[in-house]
């Protein structure tokens, strides 16, 4: 063999070895540079994960910081059906009692399912079994899964079977973060608080939860990070980590103590008179702050679905009715303010029968001559009608509007209605006589209470407030809501006369003697409206009492409304006693300064029980 042949062969060998290597170089350029973006995306898909970081929904607190609604961490229990395999039924048997679901149904959900993703069919590896599972239950589920199938002798299994068994016990059932809305007070203030949807974000569906949903739910954060092949986070590569901003706390003007007093006394009244419903609003007249707002029947916002729809409605703002005699304050205020009448003007109340515009108006009792003050005291319909006639349609309409009827009060709760006040051109001949006594208009209990508050507040109509401020989770005030006057409804002389007249209602002479308080002078007005069905009045009544005390320096205005009380329909007999009970306890609770000086020794006054105040009459 010559050197030349050898050299040729060696060159060939060098060529044969070197060329493929050089070819690989080309392949590397293709992979690493030309197709870099494509593979970069695939590599990111391997490791890069973005997680939502759910904010904690804000709390709802009363004015003293008592928790009314809060969020607690919970879990969404999920399953990976592909890991369950043959042990599906065992898992279903173990989990069904813990999750509180039907075993057969659960076993069905654990069946592997095919999903189509990007045109490729895969086995679904994610099934949410139950949301809102408390953390303690989740711990039990984990323990139950870890001891699944105790009969299996692991030593007899192959390596593969052992791995799948350990996956089954540790990874087949897993949990995502969730939160659960808890209302510790259960039914307390349920209509104000509202409730939330049972979804991931706890969307508010009613009440404050709905009205302040955007403030309560906070802002979602996220984390962009990377995971290794065993789904463990690589903290080093945590790119973006934006903490969620937890929801703001809503601090209400409501006082849980007063709310409790209102609800318990209302419930007692409910029991006594068994109306369809009863509601009560307690307002601080000077500011318009709502201290308590209750409607019975109520519901437990922890389980709103378990209650009928009627129970969910906040009747205080969502229901309208003819107000009845309480509405007389409008016409009398109007008459006084326009100086068309004085308290001492005398009206002939026609002994209970007044023919007007081809109709007969009635009083509940026969009255002869009554002063304007007497018309309030005795609640004479005919007297009110005559004042109304003297005031005139335009002025009457103006005062109705000044007192805020026919428009929403602006309370930040969903579902408020404006009521019905027809414009003057739609009035009939009779309207001018009927509207002053509270017929032919429809108002919400809140509108009526706010109108009474305007009288208690020196004639300034306030916008009702239910939210005092918004705080961030650390307690810093984000927004503070100030009392908002709406307008002045009448001059100071009018108001002091009105108060004088209203004080007489809760006396022996008046319609609501039972509303009187032991240590406070009460100014108020009863209302007994006959309900109409299909345009005819039926023997069903809407009884109410709205009053405030101490009459000359009002601290509280309380409105009690009962829909169709069964035994007696007069507001003075049904609503007034409830007003009395609530008033006594609320005044005690708030330590209000009495304005009636009683002769008995001071120490006895101090120890007097708020509930037993009926001895004052």
């Amino acid at each position: 063999m010559t050197v030349a042949t050898q050299n040729r062969k060696l060159s060939w060998l060098a060529f044969v070895l070197g060329l493929p290597l050089a070819g690989l170089g080309y392949r590397l350029v293709d992979l690493q540079v030309a197709r870099h973006d494509e593979f970069q995306a695939l590599a990111d898909r391997n490791t890069v994960r973005t997680f939502q970081r759910e904010p904690v929904r804000g709390q709802i607190l009363d004015c003293r910081g008592i928790l009314l609604a809060t969020s607690q961490p919970a879990k969404v229990v999920c399953a990976d059906p592909t890991l369950l395999g043959d042990y599906r039924l065992d898992a279903a048997r173990a989990l069904a009692p813990l999750l509180g679901v039907d075993e057969a149904l659960l076993a069905d959900r654990l069946l592997p399912r095919l999903i189509v993703d990007n045109g490729k069919t895969n086995n679904s590896q994610y099934v949410a079994l139950k949301r809102k599972v408390p953390v303690e239950t989740w711990e039990k589920i984990k323990a139950a899964m870890a001891h699944l199938c105790p009969g299996i002798d692991e030593k007899k299994l192959s390596k593969r079977q052992r791995t799948s068994l350990s996956y089954l016990r540790t990874k087949a059932i897993f949990a995502d973060e969730d939160q659960i809305r808890v209302y510790p007070g259960q039914r307390l203030a349920s209509h104000v608080l509202g409730y939330v949807a049972n979804d991931e974000e706890l969307t508010g569906l009613n009440g404050i939860e709905l009205a302040f949903n955007t403030n309560l739910c906070g802002v979602r954060g996220w984390r962009k990070t990377e995971m290794d092949g065993r789904h463990r986070e690589l903290v080093k590569y945590r790119d973006e980590d934006v903490a969620p901003r937890d929801g703001l706390n809503v601090v209400l003007t409501l006082d849980a103590g007063l709310q409790n007093i209102v609800e318990s006394e209302l419930a007692a009244g409910m029991e006594k008179h068994s109306p369809i419903s009863a509601s009560c609003i307690m307002i601080r007249p000077r500011t318009g702050e709502i201290l308590a707002m209750a409607t019975l029947p109520n519901y437990d916002p922890n389980h709103p679905g378990a209650f009928p729809m009627e129970a969910l409605r906040n009747r205080v703002i969502a229901d309208i009715a003819e107000p009845g005699s309480t509405f007389k304050i409008v016409v009398v205020s109007g008459g006084l303010n326009e100086r068309l009448v004085t308290l001492n003007d005398v009206f002939d109340c026609e002994h209970g029968q007044f023919f007007y515009a081809n109709n007969t108006l009635h009083d509940h009792e026969s009255f002869g001559l009554l002063t304007v003050e007497g018309i309030i005291t005795k609640s004479s319909n005919i007297g009110a009608a005559k004042i109304g006639i003297r005031l005139g349609e335009e002025k009457l309409w103006e005062y109705i509007h000044r007192f805020g009827f026919g428009e929403r009060t602006g309370l930040p709760l969903p579902g408020e209605v404006a009521g019905i006040v027809h414009p003057v051109r739609q009035w009939s001949k009779l309207s001018i006589a009927r509207i002053p006594m509270g017929q032919g208009v429809a108002v919400t209990p809140l509108q009526m209470a706010m109108a009474m508050c305007a009288i208690a507040n020196d004639g300034v109509l306030m916008r009702p407030m239910v939210v005092s401020r918004l705080e961030d989770p650390s307690g810093r005030v984000i927004a503070h809501y100030e009392p908002q006057p709406v307008r002045c409804v009448a001059g100071p002389q009018t108001i002091s006369n009105m108060v004088r007249a209203l004080k007489t209602v809760a006396t022996r002479e008046g319609t609501a003697v039972q509303a009187g308080l032991e240590h406070y002078t009460v100014a108020g007005k009863t209302g007994t409206a006959e309900k109409s069905e299909n345009g005819h009045y039926v023997e069903k009544f809407f009884s109410s009492f709205i009053g405030f005390f101490p009459a000359d320096h009002p601290e509280l205005c309380i409105s009690v409304v009962m829909d169709e009380p069964r035994d007696s329909h007069y507001g003075g007999l049904t609503a007034a006693p409830v007003f009395h009970a609530i008033g006594e306890r609320a005044a005690n609770y708030l330590n209000l300064k009495p304005d009636i000086d009683l002769e008995p020794p001071v120490n006895q006054t101090l120890t007097a029980d708020g509930g037993g105040g009926s001895s004052g009459r």
């Binding site: 050898q6 590397l28 690493q32 197709r35 593979f39």
Partner: protein, 383 residues
């Protein structure tokens, strides 16, 4: 001559250095096993020990006259065939993943006899080719005897389920026989026969058939048989020009299996980028060129065949490994010379390089005609 050895040594040194660095980088995040401690450090230490042994072997081989091994080659081959058959022996042979590739004697690290057999066969073929160099064109001496010896060794390796090594060795031996003067018309038919037999085995071995199919359709099998190769491509591709930076590779974190042994090249590509991968390829090409240059300059046929055999073994192994990692070739477990983790292979490679150096030491100095070494190359190619 001197530049060839210098470049050769530099290439090997750079490759080993890169290998050690990448070994630690790729294994530092691995799960700690029963022995509480960093797996990366443990593997690095073990590889360093083997490297030390390998360097000793390399220096020993380089300082010895390779011609002295000539008479010992049949015995060495016989011994390695014995070791190869020992992998089937009870207690001594060790089976991992269904392959009988290792023998383990008490107190000694596990050893892959096929590594020794490769070198022994190359040495034997070298001495055989020198001894019968005038008869290599014949049928008996040129093909029958060497082919049957090769067949025995290759078959033993083949049946211990190390197909890649067997194919590599067969190819290297074929090249050596051609270089030794065996006629192509005697080499090609058995080679074709071998290829046919291989195809038959492939079609009847579901594991390998799946790998072949996975190679043909990487997208379809990326979650199954083609997972490793697919993930390796992702690793390489995401590296780009300069890579993610040393230690920043993601694909080693449970995505590319065997990322510190057979697939370490993908991690090099991911962490250091095209710059490093091309450098590795260039280093291997340089190594092949230098090795073949040394072989050409050797003073005797033994040196020529031996040098060419060793060089083609290193070059071919590198090609197969990188080819597999870049999905140019179907998946086949084969370490990347000097870089992949694996003691016996590193030892073999270093001893082989030592032999190559020994060949160069005793090579005839070329007649110095010109000072420019690059002008010697055309003479090499068209002479």
């Amino acid at each position: 001559m001197k530049w060839a050895t210098t470049i050769l040594i530099c290439c090997v040194a750079v490759l080993i250095g890169l290998g050690l660095v990448m070994l630690y980088s790729s294994s530092m995040n691995m799960e700690t096993g029963a022995n509480q401690g960093s797996v990366g450090a443990h593997l690095l230490l073990s590889q360093l020990c083997w490297c030390l042994f390998g360097l000793i072997g390399c220096v020993a081989a380089a300082s010895t006259d390779y011609r002295k091994f000539k008479s010992a080659t049949p015995w060495l081959l016989g011994f390695s065939v014995l070791l190869l058959s020992l992998v089937w022996a009870p207690k001594i042979g060790i089976m991992r993943n269904g392959a009988h590739r290792w023998i383990g004697l008490p107190g000694l690290p596990h050893f892959q006899p096929s590594e020794l057999a490769r070198l022994a066969l190359i040495l034997f073929l070298g001495s055989y080719a020198e001894r019968f160099q005038r008869q290599m064109a014949g049928v008996k001496r040129g093909i029958l005897i060497p082919a049957s010896i090769i067949a025995v060794v290759v078959a033993l390796i083949f049946f211990e389920q190390d197909w890649g090594c067997a194919i590599l060795l067969a190819a290297v031996c074929g090249a050596m026989l051609i270089l030794a003067g065996a006629r192509l018309r005697f080499i090609v038919p058995p080679a074709l026969l071998l290829a046919g037999g291989l195809t038959y085995f492939l079609l009847h071995n579901p594991v390998r058939l799946r790998r072949i199919l996975a190679w043909l359709h990487p997208e379809l099998s990326k979650d199954g048989a083609g997972y490793q190769a697919y993930q390796a491509m992702i690793a390489l591709g995401s590296g780009g020009w300069t890579g993610l930076g040393l230690g920043n590779g993601r694909q080693k974190l449970g995505f590319v299996p065997e990322h510190h042994t057979d697939f370490i090249f993908s991690i090099i590509g991911e962490e250091l980028g095209l710059v490093a991968t091309l450098a590795v390829v260039v280093l291997f090409i340089a190594l092949v060129v230098c090795g073949l240059y040394i072989a050409r300059r050797s003073s005797d046929t033994f040196g020529l065949i031996l040098g060419a055999g060793i060089t083609s073994m290193i070059g071919l192994q590198a090609f197969i490994n990188i080819g597999v990692v870049t999905s140019v070739l179907p998946n086949k477990g084969m370490p990347l010379p000097f870089i992949s983790y694996g003691g016996s292979n590193l030892l073999l490679m270093l001893v082989s390089v030592g032999l190559l150096l020994s060949v160069s030491r005793f090579a005839a100095e070329p007649v110095k005609q010109r000072n420019n070494p690059f002008e010697a190359m055309p003479e090499l190619s068209h002479a």
